[in-house]
Amino acid sequence: MKNLFLTTVALFVLSAPGAAQAQQWFDFNGQALTPDAIGGTLEMVSTITNDGSIETPLPLTGSISDRYTLVINGLQLLSDDGTMQMYAGGTIQIIEDDTTPADFGDMSTFSDGTVILEGTIQQFARIDFGVGGLVSGEGSVDWTGGSRINEIAPADRLAWALVVSISTRASVLIDGYDENWNGKVEPGDPIVSDGATTWGQLKKTY
C-alpha cells in the first residue's frame, strides 16, 4: 500500500507542470514570395529575432538573429476567395548557421546550416481585411524532425500556433519579395525541462 502511494506520488511529481512560466515563442521577421495561382507555393525566409527578452522554446545561443533562421517552403495555395487564402502542405525549418550570414539577396543563405527543428504546416489561412493593407495569417505546425527534436516531448511537438502580421508597405519590403512576414511560432504552453529526481529525494519530502 505504501509502495503504491509512493509510486502514485512519483508519477504526479514527474508529470506535473512546472510553476507558471514566462511566455515562450520563436519570433521571426522575413520576406515571402507568394504564388500567382491556385496550386502554386509560398516561400518565406526569415531570421529569428528573439534578441530581446522573450525566451525561446528551445535554448538558443549567441546572437540569435545572426545565427538562426526560420524558413517555410512549399506552402501550397489551395483556395482564394479574394479575402481569404487557404494554404497547406508546406514545411517549416529552424536552422542554425554561424558561418554564412543570412542575406535576403540570396535565399539559399537562409537554408544552409544545421536543421534543428523541422515540421509540417497543417493549414494556414491568410486573411486580407481589405482596408489599409491589413493582412494577417494563422496556421498550425507539427514538429517532426531536426537535430534537437528530442528536446521536446512528443506530446509537445504538435499543434504549435503560427501567427503572422503581413505587410506590403515599401518600408518593410525588400526588392524582389512580395510580402513582409513578421510573426511567431509558439507552443500552446511553455516547454519545461524534464524534472529529474532521485527516489531518495522524493521520499525525503515525506
Partner: protein, 230 residues
C-alpha cells in the same frame, strides 16, 4: 543678376530642406505582446462604444538608430486610452475604429516585463518603467477581427498613425505630423495561445518612425552657396 542668384539659392535651400524621406529612412521596431479591452473583445465578445483598448508589448528587434543595447536593455511598448466606436459588423469581419490613444515606448536596464493576469494589474507598471524612448498621440487607429466563417475566426490586424510628441525617437520625427506608424497582427481566442488570463488579444507588430534625414553639408546654406562659386 544678383537677385536671380539669390532667388536660385533660396529655391535650392527650400528644395534641399524639404526632400522627403525615402523608404530607407524609416527606423523599425518589432514587438510582440498582448492586449485587453474593457468588457472584453473577441471570442464572441463585442467591442462596445466607449470600451478602452490597451496593448502591451516587448520589442524583439529594433533599428540601431534607437540606440538600444540588445540583451542588456528591455524595450517595452505601451499603447493606451484607445476608445472604441463600438465597431461595425461587415460580413465576416468586425471593424472597429478607435479615437484618442497614446503610445509610449520605454528602454529599461531592468528586464522585468510581466503581463500578470486580469489587467489592469500592478504588473503593467513593468511596461512603463525605464527611460522614455518614444511617445506619441494616435491620429487614427483601426482594428479588424474575423468573427465568422469556416477558418481564421479570431484572426485580426490593426494599424495606426501617430504624431510623435516626446522621447528620443520623436526628435527623429523632426516635428512632422503622422511621423510614426504601427501595424500588427491581432489574434483573439481560439487562435491565441499562451494568452494570460484576462487578456483578449495576442499581438505581433511593428513600429515605424520616419527618421528625419541629416542632409549633410549640402543642406547648409554655405554649402549651397559654394555650388555657385565656381
Amino acid at each position: 543678376m544678383r537677385l536671380q542668384t539669390l532667388a536660385s539659392l533660396a529655391l535650392a535651400l527650400v528644395l534641399v530642406s524639404t526632400v522627403p524621406a525615402n523608404a530607407e529612412n524609416f527606423i523599425l521596431m518589432d514587438y510582440s505582446g498582448y492586449a485587453y479591452e474593457t468588457g472584453g473583445l473577441g471570442d464572441g465578445l463585442p467591442s462596445d462604444i466607449g470600451d478602452v483598448l490597451v496593448l502591451t508589448g516587448v520589442a524583439d528587434t529594433y533599428d540601431d538608430l534607437f540606440g538600444v543595447q540588445p540583451s542588456s536593455q528591455e524595450v517595452t511598448v505601451y499603447i493606451y486610452d484607445l476608445v472604441s466606436d463600438g465597431g461595425v459588423v461587415d460580413g465576416e469581419f468586425l471593424r472597429i475604429a478607435y479615437s484618442g490613444g497614446k503610445i509610449a515606448v520605454y528602454e529599461d536596464a531592468v528586464l522585468n516585463h510581466d503581463w500578470g493576469t486580469n489587467p489592469p494589474n500592478p504588473e503593467l507598471s513593468t511596461f512603463t518603467d525605464g527611460q522614455l524612448l518614444f511617445e506619441g498621440d494616435f491620429t487614427r487607429f483601426n482594428l479588424d477581427l474575423k468573427i465568422a466563417g469556416s477558418f481564421g475566426v479570431g484572426a485580426g490586424a490593426y494599424s495606426g498613425d501617430i504624431d510623435g510628441v516626446g522621447g528620443t525617437a520623436a526628435q527623429l520625427c523632426d516635428g512632422a505630423e503622422d511621423c510614426a506608424y504601427t501595424f500588427g497582427g491581432a489574434f483573439s481566442k481560439p487562435i491565441a495561445v499562451q494568452l494570460p488570463d484576462g487578456y483578449d488579444i495576442q499581438i505581433a507588430g511593428t513600429l515605424e518612425v520616419d527618421a528625419a534625414v541629416p542632409v549633410g553639408p549640402a543642406g547648409s546654406f554655405s554649402a549651397i552657396k559654394s555650388l555657385y562659386q565656381n
